[in-house]
Symmetry: C2
Subunit: 243 residues, 2 copies
């Protein structure tokens, strides 16, 4: 869909950085040079660079230039900067993902569920428990709640594959925003049963609420991760000031 020019430039620069065309700590070509190279306006170049900054690939310095701070080693595992499905993450890391559906039901949100998930009481929901494997190791236990009025006719078969593919390609739901909260929680009996936790008595929990383009929250998911395989990466830039 997006044949945006700034996105092409972003992807091109990103690939060049990943392929090592710029040394670590080396300056990228200046904005003016990039303008000539890509034949576009300054705004468009700057927009591409901005995306690289939020990816943690480069650092801009007024008066100096744009420095490459990408280190291949650090990018190896799950990078949760954007919204990415389990399958997408796995494929990016060249691992074989499989999914097993443990539980597939429909339910109506009561007070307790409503408070936990953020759905209104009385909402008609799908509730799924899914186990995600990477190279045959059970790593993640997912509790998914989907709003039936948006995510129509979900089936266990779809759930075994990628639900996100179904949402985007079949239902044409565009996922816009997602709020995520990471915590550490004690293990439950269900966790213990399905995940090999070894000596750990707790796990990494990522709770997320996902909104579609109508501003409707249609998904609440709690992902419970085996701690020894969990890694959440994030690049921050300091905002003007808080004071």
């Amino acid at each position: 869909m997006p044949k945006a020019k700034y996105d092409d430039i972003y992807k091109d620069l990103k690939a060049k950085i990943e392929n090592g065309e710029y040394e670590f700590q080396e300056l990228l070509p200046s904005e003016n040079q990039l303008i000539l190279h890509y034949g576009c306006s300054r705004n468009t170049v700057r927009r591409a660079i901005r995306s690289l900054v939020t990816d943690g690939y480069v650092q801009t310095m007024q008066g100096k230039g744009v420095r490459n701070i990408f280190e291949p080693a650090q990018q190896a595992s799950f990078t949760l900067g954007g919204i990415e499905s389990f399958k997408e993450s796995a494929l990016r890391n060249h691992q074989v993902p499989t999914t097993k559906v443990i539980c597939f039901t429909e339910l109506t949100a009561d007070e307790k569920i409503a408070k936990k998930t953020g759905f209104l009481p009385g909402s008609q929901l799908y509730y799924l428990q899914r186990l995600h494997y990477l190279d045959d190791k059970a790593l993640i236990l997912n509790h998914n709640y989907f709003l039936k009025s948006v995510v129509t006719s979900l089936t266990p078969e779809i759930a075994e594959n990628s639900i996100y593919e179904y949402l985007e390609n079949t239902l044409h739901i565009s996922i816009v925003t997602s709020k995520r909260i990471m915590t550490v929680e004690k293990m439950t009996q269900i966790d213990e049963k399905y995940l090999e936790l070894g000596d750990y008595n707790c796990l990494a929990v990522v709770s997320s609420q996902t909104y579609n383009s109508d501003g409707v929250m249609f998904e609440y998911t709690q992902s419970r991760h085996r701690p020894d395989y969990f890694r959440f990466q994030d690049n921050a830039t300091r905002r003007p000031a808080i004071h």
Copy 2:
């Protein structure tokens, strides 16, 4: 410091949202209205809105408008979207922060430390262990490594207050980029000694590398958090596509 116009507009809109001047799910004034209201160009308004989007405050929808998706309850605790010091986080949540310095030494990075921190072997470093309290509860155990060639003349007194204040106000080091990795690790004897972990046998660990405006990594910090008080929030927007 930034007396940028877009930042003023950003702060003004942010405050209005936090104060409830717009209902949850309500549309903000259109870009044209905001242009008239603030007396600026469209780009400037759009830039302010962009910041609100990355904060997870609003959601933009082409052809419709900009929707407020801010919910007060969710913003209560640590929001680790930007680079924020412990003191800043605490004050924002109206809590009383105190810091105790457990260990303050200087050392030279050997192979092991170099690999762990990302500093070059042979680097002269300050190494600190600090315990952070919130309302008299010990919540975070920090292991800080600072590059002596950048962070000159650090003292235990400074370390008891805010090191970031010292860096920015006294040394005039501008902090630009920070890479963070969140994991869950088993507790160590030191953790057990200083943090009340109760039944938990592991904790939330945030490792971060911080760069100054010269592109020099001058800080490596490992923050070990008591799990029951740890919460890491993050707002994601789906990028064009990966396919």
